[in-house]
């Protein structure tokens, strides 16, 4: 029994390491958990601004309906620390976007990560932590 309890505690600690946290602006507006996946979304605009860069993209759902999405990242300065720049995304890029959707149901949310067509992935900062961390690992580079 003690072994089981210890193992549960160890793995609970590991799970905590991966939990997303927010710092600059809160997460209350978003469904933080399993992100919504927008496969083959077409970037329409990448707005490199503070407090948060905005990714705008069109996503066609399984019914063929086009949804106009917008999502926010961490700040420009924290994103720069993990390799982002104002040209990382450009209109016309076809990518897969992962986003924590707004609770209101709007096609808006907190950006998590992007899969590019060449197989590479770039993540957001520690989901608003602005400390150069990685969104889905919870650790710093």
């Amino acid at each position: 029994m003690r072994t089981r309890i210890l193992m549960v505690l160890v793995f609970a600690g590991l799970a905590t390491v991966g939990s997303p946290t927010f710092a600059h602006h809160g997460n209350a507006a978003f469904e933080v958990g399993t992100p919504t996946v927008l496969k083959n979304a077409v970037v329409t605009e990448f707005v490199w601004i503070n407090p948060h860069p905005l990714i705008k993209a069109d996503y066609k759902n399984e019914k063929g309906e086009v949804q106009h999405w917008i999502m926010e990242m961490g700040s420009t300065v924290s994103a720069q620390l993990i390799g982002w720049s104002r040209t990382t995304l450009a209109p016309g890029d076809v990518v897969t976007l992962y986003v924590w959707k707004a609770k209101t149901g709007a096609f808006a949310g907190r950006f998590n990560k992007v899969d590019f067509s060449d197989g590479t992935t770039m993540r957001d900062t520690q989901t608003g932590g602005d400390d150069g961390g990685r969104a889905d690992t919870g650790v710093r580079q």
Binding site: R2, T3, R4, L6, M7, V10, F11, G13, L14, V17, A23, H24, H25, G26, A28, A29, F30, V47, I49, N50, P51, H52, L54, I70, M71, E72, S75, T76, V77, S78, Q80, L81, I82, G83, A102, K103, T104, G105, A106, F107, A108, G109, D130, D131, G132, R134, T137, V139, R140, Q141
Partner: protein, 286 residues
């Protein structure tokens, strides 16, 4: 006991494996470095105390908790201080995001309009990086967030005391107030500030302050690489006891560089209109 040990070892090995996988994701950057750029490794390369603190010297560029340097805040500001009736009334009007209010419903003048934090909030919120420089009669504190600077006079002058009414001895409130400072020992610098614009918030949590509030900052340099700052606010109109504004920590940045981070009003209006307000207002949902 043996099973317990096996369980612990298995857990630790699992943690190390996950840690190794995570490390492997970090990009290996062999690109040429520019002296005009700030790299995260510049701040993080500075391990340990780095030697004794120089005497009566805080000059240089320092990394705060939101700088990317892994600096931790020591003590957050109080969230429920001992309000007077007026203090409680003013606090109730401030809809701070950190009190569970969505950005769409917040009336934080900085979040909604990029208004300056003003002092003391600019020393306890968005603590990214700062540079301290001392000239003959003043110490300047320059903050990366919003590209602002404060000046702390060290020529022995007294703080002004009147900020209302008419007369030659009346001083207008300012965002950063009026500051004087002195070394109280070889490693501790104390600054006092009053006359801050009362429309600003003292903390991200929406604590109000009056124009007569007096804030005491205590900078302590415990080593070459470590600087801490504790802040206390005395404001008898709004609080029946002094309010702790917390303690923040700074680490010496080896490269002595940081880049700016400003809130731009036109950008924040775009952000609110297109992103934050639709995300936080049910009626705006599609």
């Amino acid at each position: 006991m043996r099973k317990v040990s096996t369980g612990i070892i298995a857990g630790v090995v699992g943690a190390l494996c996950i840690s190794a996988l995570v490390s492997a994701q970090a990009p290996q950057n062999n690109a040429p470095r520019s002296p005009w750029k700030y790299y995260p490794e510049d701040a993080r390369a500075n391990e340990g105390p780095g030697g004794p603190a120089p005497v009566r010297d805080m000059s240089g560029t320092w990394a705060g908790e939101s700088s990317g340097a892994g600096v931790k805040r020591l003590v957050p500001p109080e969230r429920n201080p001992a309000f007077t009736a007026l203090g409680k009334e003013l606090f109730s009007k401030n809809k701070a995001e950190s009190n569970g209010v969505l950005i769409a419903q917040s009336n934080d003048p900085h979040v909604r309009f990029c208004d300056p934090f003003g002092f003391p909030r600019n020393m306890n919120d968005q603590i990214r990086s700062m540079t301290i420089a001392t000239v003959q009669n003043r110490t300047f504190v320059m903050l990366k967030f919003m590209n602002i600077w404060r000046e702390i006079w060290m020529d022995g002058r007294a703080l002004p005391t009147k900020f209302a009414g008419r007369g030659a001895d009346v001083h207008d409130p300012t965002y950063n107030g009026y500051s004087v400072g002195r070394w109280v020992d070889d490693y501790t610098f104390v600054a006092e500030t009053t006359g801050m614009a009362p429309e600003t918030w003292a903390t991200e949590g929406g604590l109000p302050h009056s124009v007569d509030a007096k804030v005491t900052e205590r900078f302590n340099r415990s080593s070459k690489n470590d600087l801490s700052l504790t802040m206390t606010m005395d404001d008898p109109k709004l609080y029946s006891k002094p309010v702790s504004l917390g303690e923040v920590n700074f680490r010496w940045i080896p490269s002595q560089t940081f880049f700016d981070f400003s809130c731009v009003p036109s950008s924040v209006q775009m952000y609110l209109k297109e992103m934050a307000d639709p995300s936080g207002t049910p009626a705006a949902a599609k």
